[in-house]
Each structure stands twice: as structure tokens, then as C-alpha cells.
């Protein structure tokens, strides 16, 4: 077992496996490689969807996973733990997470005007890049300047999500910039979970949307990116509730927030942060809101889909049990030997009879399922989601820059919202200058998926 932290003289800890020293250090290189692949695959999928070449969600998910596997297998040959960190999911409208079908025939087919959230994740040796993008499935393919932008609540929610993510990105970047004067400060206030929360909620308030539970802005580490099955301590950042059932206490509106995350600790350079913000339209019912935080949806409004079964699972390595069912044992052996600590898709298991075994494993709490979560309400709220991974990268030549591993450079949908950000600080963060923060977007590579590749991966 390799320890991530080395205690020096019992006081200082040097986190050798997580500290980002410079862009060309091995850890950073792995992050960048993962980000590049995630970006490439995401761009490809977005293009396919917007250009109406892929409409069946099953195709999209399979394409995404296959591409990730293909690309990660080409690099870092000596690293054995790499690949999909989050299976490609396509969540539509009021679905917020977890939809990745196993059958093509029963899969959802995108229709016009759907708010489509494509999420995926890539990791190399535990260094993860998670990304999500929201787009509107449009009927025709026309250049944006020839068609009117979408307006209304759809526009509001998409704008809000996008802007909140951007603002937080810049905010985290200021950690580098102000380092010499006051570490982790922006505007004389530390950049910690509370500050992030302010920014995001301010945006949500402006656009009159609500934050979906499960949104989080948090620091991530190697192999630890906030999986359900890991109860991490010393997490920095802010979480708006939790979607996972384990974390839920008796009071559905009060998560184990204080215990799970430290909202006071400031961000620091050399860290990797995950920005995952989902916002949704508000149906109007006060009871749907979180009692403690009026800008957040109540956890009770999130329910698993009645018919759709979970197809994504995460192994809980804290539980070691032997299973009676032969198929369960077979699946468990395969998972323990080939799968990592990240969620995986059911179709990626090659053991026969996996479905039955998996059910037994879930029952025994050896695996945690990722349920297909829908927001209840009438009319059904629409949710938008943006997720990126950032590296607060110090540099020898300059203050450092925020490396947006994935998600940068993909343009948001053509929308227009009637609301505007009024907060000055946020405006500064969102401006071209980004309050002095240097931002680097990792560009994806051209991915041309050939049909033959797909066939290969599906075997």
C-alpha cells in the first residue's frame, strides 16, 4: 500500500502523490493526459449530438466509453490503473445523474428541445478528469447567428450553470495570484468553501434557479474524487447536499455536511479541484426547497427512476465479504482484479450472468449503485449541469495558471437569458481579465471514431 502522505518530523506532511509542482511534473502530466482525452471525447460527442448524427443515448454512451478506453490504452503503457473514471451518461431534462442504458432498443432517443447533459470521466493512475456539459438538442443544424437563441427558463438555467462554473474557476485561480500577499485570498477574504458557496448561490439567485443537491466544489486527490463509497475526511470546498443515499441522514434536508466537508479551509496552490454545479428550474413549491437553504432544492425532490434500473456501480472496498452465489463471486473477482475504485458500467463486465451477480452484490452492500435520479415536480424541472476539473498549477515563470483540464473551449448552447449578473466581484471574475487569473484550457485531439473501433471495443 502506498501512502500518499509522508509525515516529516511528525508535523509537516508532504503529499507526494497529490502535490502539483509544475506543469511538466509527472503527476501534472498524467492529469493533463486524462484531461486531454476527456476533452477530446466530450467534444466529439457534443459534435455528434449537435450535428444530429447520434440520437440514441445508448450509442452515445457506448461511443464515449469505447473512445476513452481506446485512447487511454494508447498511452502510459506501464500504468495499469487507467481508463474510465465515470461512465458516459446522458441525462435528459429532469434526470440529474446515472442514465446509461444497457439495451439499445429500450434506450432513450433524443428529441428536439431536450436539455442533454453529457458526463464522463477519465483517469490515469488515479489522476482524474471529470467533465460534464449541457446542451440543447436542436432540430436543425444552422449557424448560431442565423437562428434565434433559446430563451426562457431553459436559457436561465443553462446560463446560470455556465456562469457559476466560470466564476468559481476564476475564483479558484485567484488563489495563485494572491499567493505572495495572502495565500488563498481574493478580495481580502480566503477562497474557501463558504466563499465559493456565496458566489454560486448569488448566481443562482440572480437567474432564479435552484441548486440541485449533489452539486459540489471540492478538492480532489488521486483516486479520491468524491465517490459514494468513500467516506473521506478533510475534504475542502462546499457541497450542496448529497445525492447518495448513504450520506443521507434522517433529515433529508440536512446532509452530513459539516462532517463530510470542511468549508472553512482555503484552497491552495498545487491542488486539484472539481467544480460540479447542477442547477434546475424551480417549480414554485416552497416545500420543494431545502429548509436550511432556500436556494437549494430539497433532497426529497430527488427520487430514483421508477423503472430504470441502475447500470453503474462502484465497488466499496471497505467491505470484504464472500458471496454464496457463484455468479456474484465471479463478478466480484473480476471487479477486484480489473476494476478500480471508480464507478463502472454494467456492460464493461465480461463475466457471464453479471446482472444476477451484481444484484446480489448490491444487496450485500459490496457495491453501491448509481441510481438514475429524477427531480420530481410538476411541471418537471429542467436541470443543467457543468462539471470541470481544475489544476491550480504553480509555475516557475509566472504566478501560475488554472488549468482547465476539460470543458474549456466547448461553447455553451445558443441561449439568451433575461437575467444578468449584477455582483461586481462576480463580474470581475467573469470578465476577460478574470481578475488576473491565467486560464489554460486543455485542448482535445481530433477523435475520429471509425465503426470498426466501436465493434472492437464492444467485444
Amino acid at each position: 500500500m502506498s501512502l500518499q502522505e509522508i509525515v516529516v518530523d511528525g508535523e509537516e506532511t508532504v503529499d507526494t502523490k497529490n502535490a502539483l509542482i509544475s506543469l511538466d511534473s509527472p503527476i501534472s502530466m498524467k492529469y493533463v493526459a486524462a484531461g486531454r482525452i476527456a476533452q477530446s471525447v466530450l467534444s466529439y460527442l457534443v459534435r455528434e449530438v449537435t450535428e444530429r448524427r447520434m440520437t440514441n443515448v445508448y450509442d452515445i454512451c457506448q461511443a464515449g466509453d469505447s473512445l476513452i478506453e481506446l485512447e487511454t490504452s494508447k498511452i502510459y503503457k506501464n500504468v495499469d490503473e487507467k481508463g474510465v473514471a465515470a461512465p458516459t451518461t446522458v441525462d435528459v431534462n429532469n434526470c440529474v445523474q446515472g442514465y446509461s442504458p444497457v439495451n439499445r432498443d429500450s434506450a432513450y432517443i433524443l428529441s428536439n428541445g431536450d436539455i442533454v447533459k453529457i458526463s464522463l470521466g477519465v483517469h490515469i493512475d488515479g489522476y482524474t478528469s471529470l467533465v460534464s456539459h449541457t446542451l440543447i438538442a436542436l432540430p436543425t443544424i444552422v449557424p448560431n447567428d442565423q437562428v434565434a437563441p433559446t430563451t426562457g427558463v431553459l436559457a436561465d438555467v443553462i446560463c446560470a450553470t455556465y456562469l457559476a462554473t466560470e466564476a468559481v474557476t476564476s475564483l479558484l485561480g485567484t488563489v495563485l495570484y494572491r499567493y505572495e500577499n495572502q495565500s488563498g485570498c481574493y478580495g481580502n477574504r480566503p477562497v474557501n468553501g463558504e466563499r465559493i458557496r456565496e458566489i454560486v448561490e448569488s448566481v443562482a439567485k440572480t437567474f432564479q434557479v435552484k441548486i440541485v443537491p449533489g452539486s459540489a466544489v471540492r478538492r480532489i486527490k488521486r483516486f479520491l474524487v468524491g465517490q459514494d463509497t468513500v467516506h473521506e475526511v478533510d475534504v475542502k470546498g462546499y457541497m450542496w447536499g448529497s445525492i447518495s443515499i448513504e450520506a443521507m441522514t434522517d433529515d433529508p434536508d440536512e446532509g452530513d455536511l459539516k462532517k463530510m466537508i470542511d468549508t472553512e479551509a482555503p484552497a491552495d496552490r498545487g491542488e486539484a479541484w472539481l467544480v460540479d454545479i447542477s442547477m434546475c428550474t424551480f417549480s414554485g413549491l416552497e416545500s420543494d426547497l431545502n429548509q436550511k437553504n432556500g436556494l437549494q432544492l430539497s433532497r426529497r425532490t430527488l427520487k430514483p427512476h421508477r423503472d430504470l434500473k441502475s447500470t453503474i456501480f462502484t465497488r466499496d472496498y471497505n467491505r470484504i465479504l464472500s458471496m454464496k452465489l457463484k455468479s456474484a463471486r465471479g463478478v466480484l473477482i473480476e471487479i477486484d482484479s480489473r476494476k478500480s475504485v471508480y464507478p463502472f458500467h454494467l456492460s464493461s463486465l465480461s463475466t457471464s450472468g453479471a446482472a444476477l451477480g451484481v444484484a446480489a452484490l448490491v444487496n450485500a452492500e459490496i457495491m453501491a449503485p448509481m441510481r438514475v435520479m429524477m427531480i420530481q415536480g410538476s411541471p418537471a424541472p429542467i436541470a443543467a449541469r457543468e462539471r470541470t476539473t481544475l489544476l491550480l498549477m504553480p509555475s516557475a515563470k509566472h504566478v501560475g495558471d488554472v488549468v482547465k483540464l476539460s470543458g474549456g473551449g466547448i461553447k455553451p448552447s445558443w441561449v439568451h437569458s433575461e437575467f444578468e449578473v449584477t455582483d461586481e466581484e462576480i463580474i470581475e471574475l467573469l470578465s476577460e481579465k478574470r481578475a488576473g487569473v491565467r486560464l489554460r484550457n486543455i485542448q482535445g485531439i481530433e477523435v475520429n471514431m471509425v465503426k470498426e473501433d466501436v465493434q472492437e471495443m464492444e467485444v
Binding site: 486527490k221 475526511v233 462532517k259 472496498y317 475504485v341
Partner: protein
């Protein structure tokens, strides 16, 4: 009217002229009557009555008391004569300790020519002679182990001296020269004593505090055979036996095998290794053995001179006989289990190095070098400390707080308790956790959320248990309702309600 004494019963037989008005308590199997029930009861316990019962079973007519008494005397005479006959043992020393179990045979032997020849030869050798015939009255001085045990206790109450290994009263008290046959004879002789009515022997039995039947039987048998033999002669005989053994012993050199006729080994180690390999001899506590030569010599003398088996109490007639016995019975072993056995061979060992230390060694050593604490000097002092008797410091055992593990500091061994033996024997397939798994586990285990660590499976099971229990209670209550209020009358709890 016939006189009726307290003990004699009135004869009641068919057609007797006893008065009918004598109120008799009769015994029908003996054909007698008694005036009081007490006398009848006493009669029932006697041997005579029992004998009559047996006769009745055998469909024989009963006999009277007088006749019965006569018969008893006859029987005792006969048995005594028999015993005397059986216990007759004469040993002709001159003819190589030849035994004669009957007087007739013995007489014949004395007059035989061979015996006379042997006599002549014995004279030449110079054996001591107790009587003209050159034989010794041994009587029940059987050369059996039991007797020899008796002889050791018989020696006028003096404790047996722990003799040196090269002399001949072995520490286990055996005196060489017996065989199994004599054992049986000896037992027969002791039974004479117990059943004899002769007052002398009875007294000797009663007086004797020790449960050593051998002792009085020696006396009785000896006295019956010769008419009084006192203790001195007995001791003398032991000495003479010892001497005889010494004289007739086959000298076993140190490079000869004790158990077989293999000889001319290069040295003592070769001999020992031959005995180990071919006869399975195990030399105990080799680490503490100081005098191997002495030990082997002692053992070989035990076998060659005393003709005694090392492992059991067998004593052969000759070296070959005891060798055969040891090889056949696989008694080529040095017994070292009981304390006595260990004591026997302890003079060849030195266990002082295994005694626990109770003082610091370092204090006893002078500093060889001036104490400026340099590494060199320390090394020197360490070297000095190593000279001298090696002290085992394994005595510094450390017991684990759970009591299930013992640490030996010197050899760095850890001994686990046998109650956990099944776990030590387990060989689980090693599951090497990969990087991700170990990191995840480490991160989770550091959680301070111990209070919230719920086991959902266990919770679910507990809930079903509670539900089942509750259902059971409900069922019981409903069932009880039929009869629980139907107590007819008051039941005091004290009186068993």
C-alpha cells in the same frame, strides 16, 4: 431333653425324637433348629451353612457341623502340602544357577555326575559355598524384580545408598540375576502366607506395616524350607551375586555396540552413531551432556555386567539374553522421563547453563578500555563479555497482554497459543490491494465518523429480528388469552402455585 448350648444347634431331621414343643427357628438346608432367632441369624452367616447351601444346589444331602469341621481341616492340610510342594525351589549355584522345582529332581541332581564335576570346577574358581552341596538355599530368594525390591527394603530399614555407577547395586534397587519364571513362583509363595492358619505368619503379616507381601513370604518360605535364616545371610547373598556377576561379565569395550555384537568402531562417536542409526538410541539433552564416555560406559556396564535392560526392569541371564530382549522389544532407549530415571544419568550432564540469570552480567565485567564511549571501545567490551559460560537469556520471555503470544527475545520467535492454532494454519490467498483500493481504504479508515458507521446489512437483519420477535409476542398474547384468565382457585406462590 438334650442340652442346648449357645452355639450348637439342635439337629432337626426327619424322624428325630426332638420334642415338638421346642419353638425352633430352623435352617432347612442344614437341618438344624435354634431356640432364638438371633442364633438362627448367626448360623446363616457361617461357612458351614454356606457349604450346605452349595451341597443343596448340587443336590447332595447336607452334612453336620462335626463332619464339616473335619473336612475343613483335611482340606487345609492338603492345600498346605500342595503349597509346600510348589514353593520348593532349590538353586544349584555350582551348575550355573540351575533351578529345581521339586525335591525329587533336586535330590537326583545332587547325585548326578555332572553336578559333581561342576562342584570341582567351582572349587577351583573359588566360589563361596554355603553348604556341602555347593548350592545355596535360596528358597524364595527368587531372582525376580519383586523380590529384589523387597530385598532393598528388607535390609534392616537402612535406606538404599545411591551407589556410584560403576558399582553394582543399581540405583533403581535392582539386583541382577532373575527371570520371569520366578515371578510366578513368588506370587504362589505369598498366597501360602495369606491363607495359612499358622499363627507365626499371620502375626508377621499383621505386624508388617508395609504392604510388602514379599517380605514375610521370604521369611516364611525361607523358614519353612530351612528353618530360620536371618538377614545377614540375605545381604551376603546379594554381595555374592554381585561378585559372581562381575566375574562372569563380558567386558564391553567403549567402541563396541551395547545392543549387538558390532565392534571396533573408530571412536565413541562412531559407536554412538551406530547405536542411533541401527538401534534407535536417543541420547537425551545432548546440549548439556558433558561426559559422553562416562554415560556410554555406564550403560554398557549395566547391560554387560548387570544384564539389565535399560528401559524396563528385565534382567537377563546373560549379555546375549538381555541384548536379545532389548532388540526384540525395541528397548534400546535411555529412559529419561521420570525424575528417578533422570537422576540416574544426571551425573554425566551439566545443566547449570540453563539456570535463569538473576543478575546483570555487565556489572561483573571490568571495562577493558577506558570509558570514553567510542564505538571501538564498546566493541571491545562486548567481545570481552562474550567470553565465559554462555548464558541462555531466553528466560526473558515476554507475554503478550492478551496472553496468547509469547515472545522470545533472543531468537526473535513469537509463539502463539494453541487456541488460535486454526488461524495460524490458515493460508489465505494473498489479495494484494492495488493502488486505488489501498488509497480509498486508507482515506475511509481515517474517518472520524465512527459514530455514523452504520452497517446497513446488520441493521436490516436486526429490524427483521425485532419484527419477528414482535410478531411472536403478539401471537403468544393472542393464544394466552384463551386460558390465562381461567384460574379456578387461589394458588399461593409459596406453596407451589
Amino acid at each position: 431333653m438334650s442340652a442346648v448350648t449357645a452355639s450348637s444347634p439342635l439337629q432337626v431331621t426327619a424322624g428325630s425324637s426332638a420334642p415338638s414343643n421346642a419353638a425352633l427357628f430352623t435352617c432347612n438346608s442344614c437341618g438344624v433348629g435354634f431356640p432364638t432367632p438371633d442364633m438362627q441369624r448367626r448360623h446363616m452367616k457361617t461357612d458351614w451353612h454356606r457349604y450346605n447351601l452349595k451341597r443343596r444346589v448340587a443336590t447332595l444331602p447336607p452334612i453336620s457341623a462335626e463332619i464339616f469341621a473335619e473336612r475343613v481341616l483335611q482340606q487345609m492340610d492338603a492345600t498346605r502340602k500342595n503349597e509346600e510342594k510348589l514353593s520348593f525351589v532349590q538353586i544349584c549355584r555350582a551348575c550355573g544357577n540351575k533351578r529345581f522345582t521339586s525335591a525329587g529332581a533336586y535330590e537326583n541332581h545332587l547325585s548326578s555326575s555332572r553336578h559333581k564335576e561342576n562342584l570341582k570346577r567351582a572349587e577351583q574358581v573359588g566360589l563361596r559355598q554355603d553348604d556341602d552341596n555347593g548350592s545355596t538355599i535360596s528358597g524364595a530368594r527368587d531372582h525376580s524384580p519383586d523380590w529384589s525390591v523387597a530385598s532393598s527394603t528388607f535390609s534392616l530399614g537402612e535406606p538404599v545408598q545411591p551407589l556410584q555407577y560403576h558399582t553394582f547395586g543399581f540405583r533403581d534397587g535392582r539386583v541382577a540375576g532373575g527371570s520371569k519364571k520366578s515371578l510366578r513362583r513368588h506370587k504362589a509363595s505369598s498366597s501360602v502366607t495369606t491363607s495359612s492358619v499358622a499363627g507365626d505368619d499371620l502375626d508377621s503379616i499383621i505386624d508388617d506395616g508395609a504392604t510388602d507381601f514379599a517380605r514375610p513370604s521370604i521369611r516364611s518360605a525361607a523358614s519353612s524350607a530351612v528353618g530360620g535364616l536371618d538377614a545377614e545371610d540375605e545381604d551376603e547373598d546379594i554381595d555374592s551375586i554381585i561378585e559372581r556377576k562381575l566375574q562372569s561379565a563380558v567386558k564391553l569395550p567403549i567402541n563396541a555396540c551395547i545392543f549387538c555384537s558390532a565392534q571396533n568402531f573408530s571412536d565413541i562417536d562412531a559407536t554412538v552413531s551406530h547405536m542411533q542409526h541401527d538401534h534407535g538410541l536417543f541420547v537425551p539433552e545432548k546440549d548439556y551432556l558433558v561426559d559422553l564416555q562416562g554415560l556410554i560406559t555406564y550403560l554398557s556396564e549395566k547391560v554387560s555386567i548387570g544384564n539389565a535392560c535399560l528401559y524396563c526392569s528385565f534382567i537377563g541371564r546373560s549379555l546375549n539374553s538381555v541384548r536379545d530382549h532389548m532388540v526384540a522389544k525395541q528397548h534400546c532407549k535411555i529412559p529419561h522421563d521420570t525424575e528417578d530415571e533422570q537422576l540416574e544419568i544426571s551425573s554425566f550432564y551439566d545443566f547449570s547453563s540453563s539456570y535463569p540469570d538473576d543478575y546483570e552480567e555487565e556489572d561483573d565485567w571490568d571495562d577493558v578500555a577506558s570509558g570514553d564511549g567510542s564505538a571501538e571501545d564498546e566493541a571491545e567490551t562486548v567481545q570481552v563479555a562474550n567470553i565465559g559460560p554462555q548464558r541462555r537469556t531466553e528466560s526473558n520471555l515476554v507475554l503478550d497482554p492478551t496472553g496468547l503470544e509469547l515472545s522470545l527475545p533472543l531468537s526473535r520467535l513469537r509463539i502463539g497459543h494453541r487456541s488460535l492454532a486454526r488461524y495460524y494454519r490458515q493460508s489465505l490467498r494473498p489479495t494484494e490491494p492495488r493502488e486505488g483500493q489501498s488509497i480509498v481504504i486508507a482515506a475511509s479508515s481515517r474517518q472520524m465518523l465512527a459514530s455514523i458507521s452504520r452497517d446497513p446489512v446488520k441493521e436490516r437483519l436486526t429490524k427483521t429480528d425485532w419484527r419477528d420477535q414482535r410478531d411472536k409476542q403478539n401471537r403468544d398474547i393472542r393464544r394466552e388469552q384463551r386460558y390465562i384468565n381461567q384460574q379456578k382457585h387461589y394458588r399461593d406462590p409459596m406453596l407451589g402455585g
